[in-house]
Symmetry: C3
Subunit: 341 residues, 3 copies
């Protein structure tokens, strides 16, 4: 296996299945019933050249729950790089300090360049418009886990991807991962001009999946298993796009009315988060908070077992963990959130 | 018990006594004679949306000394919140990563709002002009501990609160905690216009304490047990207040001359820190450095056992710690500071 | 021994030998073959008032590899100090939280002032143009280790220091450490106006070493053991210096052609890093990447065992470590970098 995790493109079905399986075995630790110290003494370099508290803390906590220690870098500028240090030098130097490195960087390709200079495992935590593979893996893990609880399988599932399908790197990576599995039905609904890139649609179709493109949510989705909605990234719009979108944005909002009218009690709602909860923004509606179909917080929770699985796999300790468990001794609430179902 | 610690208002006498008692039991660890790992595997989210190195490091170190790991957030902006994420979402997401959360935020009420969305214990590390309950608890713990060493008790004590009693949230919280105890004598000395809010004075008086208001330190304090002084927060003054205060600020300075002339060798001096040590600023005078009555560093030291007690209590491990002790094996200086008495 | 490490001036030959010896004993841990937890429960305050990701992470990782926990401060401003808090107060407060403190600060002398107020061990991580003793120690450790692998000793060695010998604090500290050892030959090559301060040259000569000053690299260096090159810090130039240097900067570049033409296959190349890899900058050339003589990454790797040795010595646990080892159980690559020899 590649020592790094840079892109979902490097993953085949076996890799992904293995990661899903290992993530499942991390659940007793992630849900704080058990403690492991298998990575005690190991050091993670958590290099965030771009702000992202959520992703940074998720990687950090996952490594800590395996017993390791974390060195964080959160600044926008890396002092040495500001003095002309190459990614090659930075990478090789950090390799001398750390056993694994997570890197987020605003420039596409920078994490791969960084990784090419080191044999220490590097995980792409997001490189601008590029890749963010751990997000796609935790999304797939969420679908798989929610399905298992409902006696469903990925084969034959009906999944709706909606929102900005042009700019959303999470939906691009997720659809690639889904395409590795037996044929399913994938419906794409996006405002005009924000369609999924056709190369991706063709790739997925070529693997035997049924792709349907629609321009509205006003359809019958009574056999839908998953609604995956993403924020419309207006900050990336051209002025032409802004105009054409102005009148229609509310038509693409997933809210309680849509779920009740079009979907079933078994349809789950996902979102990569953060969502914009300000009034009038037309992101995923807060009126679904507390609704058991809203899976967005179970989804972020799944970042911990999946990122633990990524670390455990890259550092090759996944077979040691079960031998190293002890019960948690501190208070863990039955439900994490006050509205959790 | 409330799963969170948001305000001293939620604490009754029993809670406070329990925290003081648990803090006392943390002393062997806090003073680095013993090591415990009772929280090994637990993760603290230390979310500081407002800079405060001292408080942040104190919480961080306290959690580490219980065996846990810490994820720090130190930026002024929380990237997701800048994108419109609600406190509700942030709270629920962080709950999936962390076993306890300390939060400091410039907006009053924000920490309580954050806590209302999660069942994971949240500690208010300061919400602007609002609350900072761990500071009041460590202040009370300091008084209690210093008294015990001198054979004194809180009952019947004479405590002077001086400085800016209008804006200082630490004195507001401390006087509320003191008021839970048997009657004592509390003298309030503040410059004109910076008086303790009358609602607080009335509350404390209604609980049987003897409150005396004075406008000068030029009194006989020969039976005084504690001088608690706070910085005059000139940055919050109206221009009118600045003028009226200009000529008198030096009259409210606690220094060696005041202590020698007005107090006794048994009177201790406290301050919530930081103090402004620049010449002419008229904060607590540095001429008391090295004087055994100056308790300000013993007071900050007490932040560790008290914050350990808060974590241990909220995470319900306080009964496990004594079973889990080992001796410290590294060098610990007999005195932390070069001038400690 | 002094409880702090503030300057190489406080170190005599015995101290340095002891640190080199302890660093050698840290190698099994630093190279990730063994794990120790001897500092479990200890807390490091890693206070960086000036950005330096490399040095900060190196200290952080070294402390973690001994089993301790780290509280990082990375901001340019220390909130309390901005409110007029003295270094004395900051130092005494941090001493209550931490078992050891690393401090970097832009002002010369500030770290010593900070250390004078505490009995907790303080390590100078760089105080502006002042000292950075751990860098000099890891440089000496690198020379010693590379020599041992080649059957050489420091006695009689020929070492070239080149680049900006006027401003480079690392070469100043290194030459002081080298001067504690038996007579060697030290050649200094710097552009006009960037010579090693004469007081330092005299000190080293007075200790029996043979010092040669040259103004060009175009010499025969066929008996050279070490080339230590530093970045020309143009940002510190006067305008006169900039002019006189403009035409000659490329003449002081250490590159493959120089190494092949003037040196031997046994000559190692060192640099304190970061190096400026941008084209035309004339820092150490990247064409030596992958060349076994390029010791710069082995040199930064050595920061871990040397900083572990510094912590272990100051905290007096160096004799306990061998009793506390377990094998590493995670994947460690045979070579850290893809071009390592």
């Amino acid at each position: 296996m590649n020592p790094h995790l840079l892109s979902v493109d490097s993953l085949d079905r076996d890799h992904v299945d293995h990661l899903l399986h290992v993530a499942g075995r991390m659940e007793p630790i992630a849900s704080r019933r058990q403690v492991t110290r298998v990575l005690e003494g190991a050091v993670l370099g958590n290099l965030f050249f771009e702000a992202s508290t959520r992703t940074r803390v998720s990687f950090n906590a996952a490594f800590c729950r395996l017993g390791g220690s974390v060195c964080d870098t959160t600044g926008f500028t890396f002092s040495s790089m500001a003095k002309g240090e190459s990614l090659y030098d930075t990478s090789r130097v950090m390799s001398g300090y750390c056993d694994a490195i997570v890197m987020r960087h605003p420039e596409q390709g920078s994490v791969a360049e960084f990784a090419s200079a080191t044999n220490v495992p590097v995980i792409n935590g997001g490189d601008g418009p590029g890749e963010h593979p751990s997000q796609a893996l935790l999304d797939l893990y969420t679908i798989d886990k929610e399905f298992a609880q409902r006696g469903k399988t990925l084969a034959g599932a009906h999944i709706l991807l909606t929102g900005d399908l042009l700019h959303g790197r999470t939906v691009h990576s997720l659809i690639k991962l889904l395409s590795l599995y037996p044929p399913m039905r994938i419906t794409l609904v996006s405002p005009p001009g924000l369609d999924m890139p056709s190369a991706l649609v063709e790739l997925v179709a070529s693997r035997g999946h049924r792709i349907e493109l629609r321009d509205s949510l006003a359809c019958d989705f009574s056999d839908l298993d998953v609604v995956y909605t993403t924020r419309i990234q207006k900050e990336r719009f051209t002025s032409e796009m802004s105009e054409s979108f102005a009148g229609v944005s509310h038509e693409f909002v997933v809210n309680k009315r849509f779920m009740d009218a079009r979907c079933t009690p078994d349809t789950i709602v996902m979102h990569p988060l953060p969502r914009d909860s300000r009034p009038g923004v037309n992101d995923l509606d807060v009126d679904l908070n507390g609704d058991p179909r809203l899976a967005i917080f179970r989804q972020t929770d799944n970042g911990i077992p999946m990122r633990m699985a990524i670390f455990a796999t890259l550092l090759q300790v996944e077979e040691l963990i079960e031998k190293d468990l002890r019960p948690v001794r501190w208070f863990v609430p039955k439900r994490l959130g006050t509205l959790d179902e």
